[in-house]
């Protein structure tokens, strides 16, 4: 028997870890692109929204651009009237994301090779604007329910198995099944990404590009192909993140704001490290939840999570300016 307050703390910690995994899912997409091309992709959040919108749209058989078509031609079309099973829809949505990656590379970043990082960053903001409007126009801005069969709600099994630990006020640890699924998915995703980067030809080429563009070019790696590949991977990660977050809250505009949750994770983990994104996510998740539990809610009136994550990362950076796993910054004159 432990004191309840301690058990509650452990519960908060566990949930913080789970939330951290969800943050890390978003952060992964940032890392992939930044590592390979030095682009800080602000549009990652909007990509998650767009991917989720596309998935729901395909599943429900929505007619894309129906609003525009109806306005221009006076028709009244909304649905094709079919329902695509989740698995096929995910594949189709992925195909759309690959197409998007190709377009992003072909129409935007091909023309911006060699520009300063801030210009590239700005271009992704332009992209975010564009996709926000485009996604809304394509699928409409009403809220959509995403149901791909992921269980939700607290896990009874864990609750019952742990209830004996505390007194009568303790009901066992609460852990959302969705979070458990997300954690498993995240682990699988990281393993996939890492083994892709380590053991495949394209993966090696990707790492070569990340190391040195010039050198990679000179040994015959197509930069353009690698960048399309990287953006596709980021699109895939965005789709996964979009599914996880969309299952929680329905698919709607606010999904794009999860990018803001990923930024402190990136700072902590370093912009260039995949394990960094995961560890950073966990630290941020646990840190903000525990702070809210111990100090924020009882003493500061709550809602401290947003800034605490950033403050934590800020304090951390002062001691380690390149983040936890970031490449050491070497400065030469």
């Amino acid at each position: 028997m432990f004191p309840d307050q301690f058990l509650f703390g452990v519960e908060v910690l566990l949930n913080g870890l789970m939330a951290g995994v969800l943050y890390a899912l978003v952060a992964l997409g940032f890392v992939l692109i930044f590592k390979a091309s030095g682009i800080f992709n602000y549009a990652q959040g909007v990509m998650a929204l767009f991917a989720a919108l596309t998935l729901v749209g395909i599943m429900d058989g929505q007619v894309p651009f129906s609003h525009l078509i109806n306005a221009l031609f006076g028709t009244d079309v909304h649905h094709f009237g079919w329902h695509v099973p989740a698995f096929a829809a995910i594949l189709l949505a992925m195909a759309v994301m690959v197409g998007l990656a190709w377009m992003v590379q072909h129409f935007i970043f091909r023309h911006l090779v060699g520009q300063e990082p801030i210009i590239l960053f700005m271009a992704t903001i332009g992209l975010a604007y564009f996709m926000e409007g485009f996604g809304d126009m394509m699928w409409g801005s009403d809220i959509k329910k995403l149901d791909v069969g992921i269980p939700q709600g607290g896990s009874f099994w864990i609750e019952e198995a742990t209830a004996f630990l505390g007194g009568s006020n303790f009901y066992g640890f609460f852990i959302d099944q969705l979070d458990i699924v997300a954690a498993v998915v995240a682990v699988v995703l990281v393993i996939l990404l890492v083994s892709f980067a380590q053991y495949t030809k394209q993966g090696r080429a990707m790492r070569a590009v990340a190391d040195d563009h010039q050198a990679a070019l000179s040994v015959g790696i197509s930069l353009s192909f690698i960048w399309v590949l990287v953006w596709s991977l980021a699109g895939f990660v965005a789709l996964v993140a979009g599914i996880m977050w969309g299952a929680k809250s329905g698919v709607q505009f606010s999904l794009s704001l999860i990018a803001l949750k990923a930024l402190p994770v990136l700072m902590l983990g370093g912009f260039t490290s995949i394990p960094g994104a995961i560890v950073g996510g966990l630290i941020v998740g646990v840190g903000e939840k525990l702070f809210e539990f111990l100090i924020g809610a009882p003493f500061l009136g709550g809602a401290t999570e947003n800034w605490f994550a950033y403050m934590l990362a800020l304090v951390f950076l002062v001691f380690r300016p390149q983040g936890l796993f970031g490449e050491k910054i070497i400065e030469r004159v």
Partner: protein, 426 residues
């Protein structure tokens, strides 16, 4: 660039037709974080005026003209919209955003244009002596807070001493509004109030709901908007909080909010100040004259949803105020100042609502200079997840004005002192 802009804007302004019509600006938001809530309201608001034009040829023989302007729930765009539309003879502003409302209260008052903030905005505007041009009938947030507590009293046989009520609120001006009322009510009825703030947008609320799970409040009430509602209802379901003990204010009770949670949302309640559903004769007319004629606003698929009904109701009240103004002043093409008089003299009776094809749609009430806030009555609606329908589970009842009125007086007095308003009624 600038010159082009000048030319275009000038051309646009010159192109606006000058003819007798009743102009209703609709500061809507069909984009941005709150679009899912903004769309049905704007559709309902627009469809009612379309119906009047199509079926009756306007109000009192004068056609209505709806000026829709997209704000995206953004204060600056709201200001732009206000400035763009006020010159066209706009009769009444309904911005559907607390931020924009606060913004426009002084501006609209200075310009002599009335505002109607139905169930939102600045609550103390119910005191017409201070806020001459602002109306928030038939109910406001503080009424809503009191109605929530009244409902708790009802189901507990009048005694909620020692119970705990948790308020989950949007951490903004809107969400903070009910706190003083709930605190006063907590003191009066002896229940404990616990406050949980959720920051915009509210996508992540694990901490708040874990806290609720730990503290086990008897009841939870919510002042949320946008994605915050959906996430809160989902999280409440996740921790298996009994849904029938979870009561939202009217802005946390649309179909959008409960549908994503599926069956888990069954039993969720919200307070409403108007009736729900599409079982009213007037909706047959809407189908006939508006939807089937292809004149519906938006996609035309929102008829009968909670927020559509609310927009529809807001438009109905505005149209009735126009009729009243036409009657008072004997002019068909009224000005904003006459509109204000019409709103202040507005009287809604059951007979009139039946005549309009909306029997029992809202409360019967009369507005006066002293009371711009209406009766503040409301009912409790409960969600039936299998039927995907809201249904009222109580009658419309009155809030506890003995607590609310002093708060309104104090807050409006503070505003009057700050802005040197002498006010009063004549």
């Amino acid at each position: 660039m600038k010159r082009l802009a000048t030319a275009t804007v000038a051309a646009v302004m010159a192109a606006a037709p000058v003819m007798a019509d009743l102009v209703f600006p609709s500061l809507s938001y069909r984009t941005g974080a709150y679009a899912a809530n903004g769309i049905p309201f704007a559709d309902g608001y627009a469809d009612y005026f379309t119906l009047l034009n199509e079926r009756d040829g306007g109000i009192g023989g004068v056609m209505t003209r709806l000026l829709e302007c997209e704000t995206g729930y953004n204060t600056e765009k709201g200001v732009e919209c206000y400035e763009a539309t006020k010159g066209e003879g706009s009769l009444v502003y309904q911005p559907l955003s607390t931020g924009i409302t606060y913004q426009l209260i002084p501006k609209a008052t200075a310009d002599g244009i009335p505002m109607h903030t139905m169930g939102y905005g600045r609550t103390s505007a119910a005191n017409g002596k201070v806020f001459s041009n602002v109306f928030n009938y038939p109910a406001n947030y503080w009424n809503g807070a009191s109605l929530v507590v009244n409902h708790l009293l009802d189901i507990n046989g009048g005694d909620i001493k020692g119970k705990t009520l948790a308020l989950v609120y949007h951490n903004s001006a809107y969400g903070k509004e009910p706190i003083p009322t709930l605190e006063a009510l907590a003191a009066k009825h002896g229940f404990n109030l616990s406050l949980l703030a959720v920051d915009h947008p509210g996508q992540e609320q694990k901490s708040q709901w874990l806290q609720i799970r730990r503290e086990r409040p008897d009841y939870v009430t919510m002042w949320g908007w946008g994605v915050m509602n959906q996430v809160a209802i989902q999280e409440a379901a996740n921790i298996r909080f009994p849904m029938e003990n979870f009561i939202g204010v009217w802005w946390s009770g649309s179909e959008n909010d409960v549908l994503p949670a599926g069956d888990a949302a069954d039993g969720y309640k919200h307070i409403t100040f108007h009736n729900l559903g599409d079982d009213y004769p007037i909706f047959d007319d809407v189908a006939k004259y508006v939807v089937d004629a292809g004149k519906a606003a938006g996609a035309g698929d929102q008829v009968g949803t909670v927020l559509y009904n609310r927009g529809f109701y807001a438009a109905m009240l505005a149209a009735e105020a126009v009729r009243k103004a036409q009657e008072i002043h004997g002019v068909a093409d009224i000005t904003p100042a006459m509109m204000r008089d019409g709103m202040e003299a507005l009287e809604i009776t059951e007979a009139r609502m039946t005549e309009l094809g909306m029997p029992g749609f809202g409360p019967s009430f009369a507005v006066s200079c002293e009371n711009h806030g209406g009766p503040g009555t409301g009912a409790v609606a409960q969600w039936d997840a299998s039927a995907k329908k809201w249904s009222l589970i109580s009658d419309f009842s009155s809030p506890d004005m003995s607590v609310i009125q002093p708060l309104i007086d104090a807050d409006s007095a503070a505003f009057a002192a700050e802005n040197n308003i002498t006010g009063g009624c004549n």
